[in-house]
């Protein structure tokens, strides 16, 4: 099933996974934004639930 439409063979030394690096940086950026978002929503947005 597909996977056979190879137009050019790329060997180990020619391959530089720049696109993968870009995607992983995007993922890390999302993680950082969500952590920051969580801090505001879940901690600053709520009153203390354990008192004295």
């Amino acid at each position: 099933m597909s996977g056979d439409a190879v137009v050019t063979e790329i060997d180990h030394d020619e391959f530089n996974p720049r696109g993968t690096l870009a995607l992983i940086l995007v993922y890390f950026a999302i993680l950082v934004v969500m952590w920051v978002f969580m801090y505001f929503v879940e901690f600053l947005g709520n009153d203390l639930t354990v008192i004295g």
């Binding site: 099933m1 597909s2 996974p17 993968t20």
Partner: protein, 590 residues
């Protein structure tokens, strides 16, 4: 359709017809469990949201247990034994040593499943005294009929014998190929099974020494915290027992269907070794809210868990790089433009790629669960099922279904009945899960509980930060319905494939890695070393917590907790089992 997928190569069925039959049987068992599990899934979705209640809420735990056990024990593990048999036979290029032995472990697994299923379904019939409404997390104080624990034990023995079968194949291969590196797929299988054997120690002790005798009435009570801790000793590594076959498929099959080659064989080996080391000494992270376990022990579990993110992040890199390699070989260009060159019309590729994408989201919610403090926010809420429907429910399940579209023709010499339906099916699963899991996560954040038949309360309303409960329920119902439809399409497509005529040349050989096994340090293949380190980590993580639990709560529950613990442990065992053994022997002699 068939001309597009013919490569002229002989298939697995052509080369190993007896083994192909075992693999097909295991996969059918898996898919039957998926179908039944999906049925119980949609019943509880409609029940919880109060859209349609076909059973009384008193039966909710029966339904939930059936859904959980069928999906995460039967569906996943039957698929695992099928795919691992294929992987070992294929990568060692030799048949199993004794096909009768192979059928024996498969038969044991089927027998164990049927026994457990009878016990679970007995919960629907009030007139018979059999039930197992204990959920997948079957620790005390919930108690099941002995048939459930017995079935579970037989099923587990089946999986151990399956592992022995694969080790036997490897050993025979090694005698004929001295000094050769273990082929990658076999390496992954062996590492998975080593992890499984270590993990099984916990559940074996829990079932054989505590839960089964308790259920049979031989002992009156158990220490619930001890059985919980022993359950999670096994219950977390079982998560990796589900995931590692999916990883095997991502590392060895996904690069092929992407049109490329695996980026790095050594990195794949490192990832599996890390799973062997770190999967087990983390179980206490499921017990952050359990009183009776000191925070220090929980902190150790937290640290190990955070290290466990490493192999998954390594996988994200290696697998995406392998896909990028395929895309660039297919003519893709640009920093992200190569994504368009991937074979999105191929259901095997699209399913596995979407499963990986969902896993990235599951990784985030997993990090929340793993955090000692933020876990308090989501513990026992619907967030947690939201999380594991992304991981086992999509990363694993969708990968299994997508890989089936690639593998099935090679096991049957028949093409898949309809590729467009297959493509629609994997997309439906992704969309359905996106809706359902999102609703579960949000519902969990506002405190809606899990494992609850009727989370609607008089005089109290959950207040969402945005939207409404009705919207969340709608997402749950629509998502659950799409998932059920997707499961039906998947199984129907395979059933309809049976009627197609056989064709030849459907074989799909797997290409070697870009960076092959020769680039990997030889120490990676030293299975004894990694097993020993894994055992040491387990001993470090569990000895003190277990001793403390027994010391405080007693081996068999409240009462009698003299110091030192280990003497108490031994003497209690002797006290209980010596008269039993004596009775049994004297009875047998008469």
């Amino acid at each position: 359709m068939s001309s597009a997928i013919e490569s002229g190569e002989p298939t697995f069925l052509d080369r190993f017809p007896q083994e192909a039959k075992v693999v097909r049987s295991a996969l059918w068992s898996s898919f039957i469990a998926l179908t039944l599990g999906a049925l119980f899934g949609i019943i509880q979705t409609l029940h919880r949201t109060d859209v349609l209640r076909v059973f009384s809420s008193g039966n909710y735990y029966t339904i939930l247990t059936a859904h959980g056990v069928l999906m995460v024990v039967s569906f996943t593990i039957f698929f695992l034994v099928g795919i691992y048999t294929w992987a070992v036979v294929r990568s060692l290029d030799r048949p199993v040593e004794d096909i009768r032995y192979t059928w024996t472990w498969y038969g044991l697994m089927v027998l164990g499943t049927l026994m457990a299923l009878v016990a679970i379904l007995g919960g629907f019939i009030d007139s018979i005294d059999i039930s197992a409404d204990v959920l997948f997390t079957f620790y005390a104080p919930l108690q099941a009929h002995p048939l459930f624990y017995g079935g579970l034990a037989i099923f587990l023995i089946g999986t151990w014998l399956a592992g022995a079968d694969w080790f036997r194949s490897w050993y025979a291969w090694k005698q004929e190929n001295p000094g050769e590196r273990i082929p990658l797929q076999t390496f992954m299988v062996l590492i998975t099974m080593l992890m499984w054997y270590i993990a099984s120690i916990g559940i074996t002790i829990a079932v054989v020494i505590f839960l089964l005798p308790w259920s049979l009435g031989i002992i009156d009570q158990v220490n619930p915290l001890l059985t919980r801790t022993l359950f999670w000793f096994w219950g977390h590594p079982v998560v990796y027992f589900w995931l590692m076959p999916a990883y095997l498929l991502w590392y060895t099959v996904l690069p092929k269907v992407s049109g490329g080659r695996l980026f790095s064989d050594p990195l794949a080996r490192v990832v599996f070794v890390l799973f062997l080391l770190l999967s087990t000494p983390v179980g206490i992270h499921h017990q952050y809210l359990d009183p009776g376990i000191a925070d220090g022990f929980k902190f150790i579990a937290l640290t190990n868990t955070m290290f466990l993110l490493l192999p998954s992040l390594l996988t994200a890199f290696t697998v995406v790089a392998s896909m990028e390699h395929g895309a660039r070989q297919r003519g893709g260009t640009g920093l992200l433009g190569w994504l368009r060159a991937l074979p999105w019309a191929n259901p095997a590729f699209t399913g596995m790629a979407l499963a990986g994408l969902m896993f990235a989201a599951g990784g985030f919610s997993g990090m929340i669960n793993a955090g000692l403090n933020i876990n308090y926010l989501v513990h026992n809420t619907l967030w947690v099922p939201g999380h594991f429907h992304l991981t086992v429910g999509t990363a694993v399940a969708l990968t299994f279904m997508a890989a089936t579209y690639w593998l099935w023709p090679q096991l049957t010499n028949k093409p898949i009945f309809s590729r467009p339906i297959a493509l629609a099916q994997v997309i439906l699963w992704f969309v359905g899960m996106a809706l359902m899991s999102n609703a579960m996560h949000v519902a969990g954040l506002i405190g809606i509980p899990r494992r609850t038949a009727e989370p609607q309360y008089d005089g109290f309303d959950f207040i969402p930060t945005f939207g409404s409960i009705a919207e969340l329920d709608l997402q749950l119902v629509v998502g659950g319905t799409l998932l059920t439809l997707s499961a039906i399409l998947f199984v129907s497509n395979l059933v309809l494939s049976i009627s197609l005529p056989k064709v030849s040349g459907l074989g799909q050989p797997l290409p070697p890695a870009l960076s092959g096994p020769d680039d990997a340090p030889k120490v990676l293949d030293n299975l004894k070393l990694w097993t020993a380190i894994a055992l040491v980590l387990v001993i470090l993580a569990y000895t003190l917590p277990l001793a403390s639990i027994v010391d405080r709560g007693g081996l068999f529950g409240p009462g009698g907790t003299p110091y030192p613990t280990m003497i108490e442990f031994g003497s209690t065992l002797l006290e209980i089992y010596t008269p039993l053994t004596t009775d049994w022997i004297s009875g047998w002699l008469q």
